[in-house]
Symmetry: C2
Subunit: 372 residues, 2 copies
């Protein structure tokens, strides 16, 4: 086996994620490994947290890459902040809103799910009307299952004393996101979408207000933010860190170094330039799809540029088209989710893939594949 080596598959990852990483992020993965307490690694971890603050638009001290995938970020958000019986109002306009309900309920929340038609954004007034005094509001900024953007700023402005938890898995470093200005108290994301890094970490941020209301000893040891503060060397951490680190768990060193490289790439380009690039390429794709006579799924005015949902034309076999794209050109696009599994495609142009040539390629290949 090793004498011939593995066959290398190259893919254009134009689905809902993972996307192809920035080359800098891939290169970083293969650097010689550092120890998790090595001074050089601690420097990289500190810089990573600082770069994440820039990406989130926050000054939160407690901003860090959690050592698991984006879904664990969701779990960290709720397990640290939901006390038994807390009322959590969740905006549900897709799969990840549904998941929030499940995760929050397991943490002991009384969940008030505000159901929306898939393809539409979260309605802030309906969220406010759902309960007179919730402990928390939770909503997804960019619904990966439907390609819809919701107005988190409006929800943050109206939240009152409640906390606001935001899923930014598919929005961080792709579209405008300003955690502090918008009143986001707790946010989590993934690395494999617009950040342009392989999946495996959950960028996370929590402000002082939410941290002060946290569960002192959450059910999860691994995701306990009280312990994780020491892990990233947070100044205000409890415990005898002596200004240093408290050993919690072994950091996923290679992934953190890769995230650092991806974030560095983004900050060098300029975060607002990166947003503009996603915006322009998304418009190019969506205009092109409509020019081909295809109908977009997400409601106009709420369409994400980085993740486009499009209706499968009548009489076209969704899976067959996806199979042809993969086989002929190594192009991956996504199926729809739930009841839309066979009737919607999801096309992501995120991070390194948010480029005009990528949009051109997927448009041409899709047109070809639909013809069979």
């Amino acid at each position: 086996m090793s004498s011939v080596g593995p066959v290398i598959f190259e893919r254009h990852l134009f689905g809902p994620g993972p996307s192809n990483p920035y080359p800098e992020a891939t290169d970083a993965l293969s650097r010689p490994l550092l120890g998790h307490l090595d001074p050089e690694f601690l420097r990289i971890m500190d810089e990573t947290c600082e770069l994440l603050r820039q990406a989130w638009g926050t000054t939160n001290a407690r901003t860090l890459p959690i050592s698991a995938t984006g879904s664990a970020g969701m779990e960290a958000a709720f397990v640290n902040t939901v006390h038994e019986g807390d009322v959590v109002v969740v905006g549900v306009n897709g799969l990840f809103g549904q998941r929030m309900c499940d995760v929050a309920a397991r943490c002991g929340a009384e969940v008030v799910a505000v159901e929306h038609e898939w393809g539409t954004p979260v309605d802030v007034q309906r969220m406010l009307d759902a309960h007179p005094h919730p402990t928390m509001y939770a909503a997804v900024h960019a619904e990966t299952s439907t390609g819809v953007r919701s107005d988190i700023a409006a929800l943050g402005a109206a939240k009152g004393d409640a906390l606001l938890v935001t899923d930014a898995v598919t929005s961080l470093a792709g579209i405008e996101l300003r955690a502090d200005d918008w009143g986001i108290d707790v946010g989590y994301a993934g690395t494999q979408k617009c950040l342009g890094v392989a999946p495996g970490l959950a960028p996370f941020t929590i402000n002082d207000r939410a941290f002060a209301r946290r569960v002192e000893k959450p059910r999860s040891w691994y995701l306990d933010l009280g312990l994780l503060g020491g892990y990233v060397g947070e100044a205000s951490s409890r415990g005898a860190t002596g200004g240093g680190r408290t050993y919690h768990h072994t950091a996923p060193v290679a992934m953190v170094v890769s995230l650092h490289a991806g974030l560095t790439r983004i900050v060098e380009e300029g975060l607002e330039n990166v947003w503009a690039r996603h915006e322009a390429v998304g418009k190019q794709l969506q205009d092109g799809l409509q020019s081909m006579g295809l109908e977009l799924f997400a409601q106009e005015g709420s369409r994400l540029p980085e993740l486009t949902t499009v209706k499968v034309p009548d009489g076209v076999d969704s899976a067959a088209v996806r199979g042809r794209l993969l086989e002929r050109h190594g192009i991956e696009i996504g199926a729809g989710v739930g009841q839309y599994a066979a009737t919607v495609w999801r096309i992501g142009l995120m991070g390194h893939n948010a480029r005009p040539d990528a949009a051109l390629l997927v448009l041409a290949a899709l047109e070809e594949a639909i013809k069979a």
Copy 2:
């Protein structure tokens, strides 16, 4: 910044982990990324689970790499199997036994901690005498904090109707481990020790007996084994997978591909040959340390070959010696843990580092560094 590129640090990772990965594992990290539902990735995931079965010595269908570090494997073990009020007898002979107590208690267990002097193995008779009818026994096979091996086979033979949870973070693919023969019901490990892969995944196995007694809806959604069965395409999984996969979370693709490469390397060498290599190199190191007049910390007869603990000589500054090793030769060794932080060193020769030249190097460098 990017115009000059990052400074690359090369380290000999001779501490308690991470260790330097096998070259095959590092190369695999930088392959073009695959989608988490790509047929080629699903094939690699299936093979990885099968290779893990070989490493664990098990036929358990539910054997998989959990998408987080080894400590999350510990949490997965308890959160899925501990019902409120269950009696869990934990062998505590180091930091990771202590951690088991914390994690199990958060899951609702009534923990019976059987404390041992650090440096000694878990005493099976004391475990049996600790409670007349526990739900579960839990012990660490290879205590990373002390360098001690405990006799899991003896505990498994005596466990009666109770379940046996075993921490194999520092033993899997390093020393003899036979999950099925020894009566291990639930086991977890890490990738960054003897497996010779970067940190970031928790190889996990659970048998039918333990799975049948599991918590139907555990507090953790991310680590819910009922849901994770569909994720790895387990045949007996619940849910409408139609023989395929149920989307749970995005697999950390690059890390799984790297683990696959590391495991392939190990199986090609032969698992028992790999154990023998760790055994021989550990003896070389321990003999050499004693020849230098140093005293080993772990009790004779229970010393791990892959992780050696040695007492810091009187009058020698532990941290200064470690600093000199790092600065002069890029060699990392570990400090002790807890009350032994300044009086014990931990030297790991694991995975790719379980080589005679690595032992020779660390012995020569340590002798030099102690002289100042």
